[in-house]
């Protein structure tokens, strides 16, 4: 079948700006987008640059954006990529997002791997090594194994909404890796890693958009690992940050009144007066527009909600918190 591709080309040393180039190639029905790109390169234009190796979604080299969504070119069938296109509309292929382009579809992974290295992605056991191998119970490794499936392809990083605006963010791949070691019973560097990922640029910069979960070709669910790291970090006492304060304030207001007191959660999440003042214009405008309720009423079921709240906390071992009698 004939495939119509529209590929983003860019050679930073030569081109002022990226531009699009079209190719029409003949490939079999079962072809992947990578197959089509390789056909274009081999048969028509050897200047087209892209990275690939295994062609069977193991090596993680061919991250790219197909029709705007990050994926492995070798795991994306042409037939699938065409599904939502209008008749005659080409398949758009662009380089991965959030990573600098080296040329065409090849991106620079130095920063990406730098962030993975920053979380110290290796086991740091405590005490003298055992005579033979480290023994761990099978069930302890079942969830860890899900994150071990990561092939460091960068699909999650390419799609990450936070990284688009916050280059300091460690990003989903590195943080999922941090989680993998935090959960590993052989590792003893939990506190050290949790402290590191609690700092600015870490777990609290994740915007909870599920984009990484959606595109991960190995179902690592990076965002969910980040949320678990938040819980672990708070449990370990790394709570002097707006993220942990927000979480606590949120839980407190529900426990007290059954529902969210937005004003209170905001004011309790911020660090001191300077941050409060930064928010003052937003509050003033909301007040003037009748968008800030002056009184937060408890739900009639607040007592019942609090009882379930407390029971769930007891059951899950979360330390109960004394609740002020609400307003």
């Amino acid at each position: 079948m004939e495939v119509h591709l529209r590929v983003q080309r860019f050679h930073p040393q030569v081109d002022a700006e990226p531009h699009w180039q079209e190719y029409r190639v003949e490939v079999p029905e079962h072809a992947t987008v990578l197959d089509a790109l390789l056909a274009a390169r081999d048969e028509q234009d050897e200047t087209l640059t892209l990275r690939c190796s295994c062609r069977s979604h193991i090596c993680g080299s061919c991250v790219m954006k197909v029709n705007g969504t990050s994926c492995l070119g070798c795991k994306t069938k042409v037939s699938h990529a065409r599904k939502r296109l209008a008749a005659g509309e080409p398949i758009r292929v662009a380089p991965a997002g959030n990573l600098p382009v080296v040329k065409d579809l090849a991106v620079d992974l130095e920063v990406f791997f730098g962030k993975v290295k920053a979380i110290e992605p290796y086991l740091q056991p405590d005490g003298p090594p055992p005579e033979r191998e480290y023994l761990v119970p099978n069930e302890a490794m079942l969830t860890v194994r899900e994150a071990m499936a990561c092939i460091l392809c960068g699909c999650c990083v390419s799609e990450c909404n936070s990284l688009e605006v916050e280059p300091r963010f460690l990003g989903p791949a590195a943080l999922a890796k941090a989680w993998r070691f935090t959960e590993d019973p052989r590792d003893a560097a939990d506190r050290h890693r949790l402290e590191f990922v609690s700092a600015p640029g870490g777990i609290w910069d994740c915007t909870h958009c599920f984009a990484c979960v959606e595109v991960c070709p190995k179902d690592v669910k990076p965002m969910e690992r980040i949320l678990e790291l938040r819980r672990r970090a708070m449990e370990a006492g790394f709570t002097d940050n707006n993220g942990a304060r927000h979480s606590q304030a949120f839980a407190d207001t529900i426990a007290e009144s059954g529902w969210l007191d937005e004003t209170r959660v905001l004011s309790r999440s911020l660090r001191g007066l300077p941050e409060l003042l930064e928010w003052a214009p937003v509050g003033m405008r909301a007040l003037l527009r009748g968008k800030m309720p002056l009184r937060h009423r408890r739900l009639s079921g607040a007592k019942q909600i609090r009882a379930i709240f407390a029971a769930a906390q007891r059951r899950s071992g979360e330390p109960p918190r004394e609740h002020a009698p609400g307003r």
Binding site: L260, E262, Q304
Partner: protein
Amino acid sequence: MKVAYYPGCVAKGGAPELYRSVKLILEPLGIEPTELFDAACTGAGVLTERNPLLADALNARTFAMAERRDMPVLTICSTCTGTMLACNARLQDEGNRARVNELLAPERYTYNGTTVIKHLLWMLVEDVGLERVAQLVKRPLRGLRAAPFYGCYLIRPSSLVGDEHPDRDLYLERLISTLGAEPVKYEGARKCCGFPVITMNRAAGLRMTGRNIQDAKEHGADLMVTPCPLCHLNLDGQQAEASQALGTPLGVPILHLPQLIALAFGHSPAEVGLGHHVVPAQGPLGRLLQAAAAGAS
């Protein structure tokens, strides 16, 4: 159809115009709401990340209220919807449900796992039908270019949202067309509004907000429309700061989805509460509606 109506905290707090405009449209759409006045906050994912059992228990209580009445839960917030879907998915597991029911028992609730959760947008497309919506349009919004802004949890993760309905990430465009307006195509439609990080990393949150508005504007949007009041808090409430963060003027009115529907059903900008908006919406919408009417006649 009868529904257990769960407006969520923001509609009852910081977005009174949303609550009000939903009231205008449910009856003509044939939706009979029983509001769950007593239901707890879903926890917006924040509780789930602290303590999943706790979030599941509070939401199971809400699901049990709807189950007793044999009604689906109607939500009007992407975040409430996503949080509820995730809890409900965990509660399909018998072991999880038993653990939660044990916590609910002293309060005389049991959840059997049968409640269906639907955002208004889904209910309009899947249950009411866009044909019926079209019949109710008294003032087609012709000439109006509306940029859809979904809010993450109405479209992701697709394993929760789109298993049985793979086109849910296209509904907003379809509805906008049904109302006579023109849906704007732009990348930002399915991105994050920046609200979840706004207290943790305000600069980043504002840049996210601003980039999406700018993207919509550059693609010709007269306004943006969102089914999520948390997105609205950022897109409307902090548009001035987002504009500063980007160093570019924005000035795009942001409508809640029910407001756009109510306007097309013939209600006035004042009736749908546009006066509550931070980015001036009443004047611009009035002019746009007049222009649309003039174009139509």
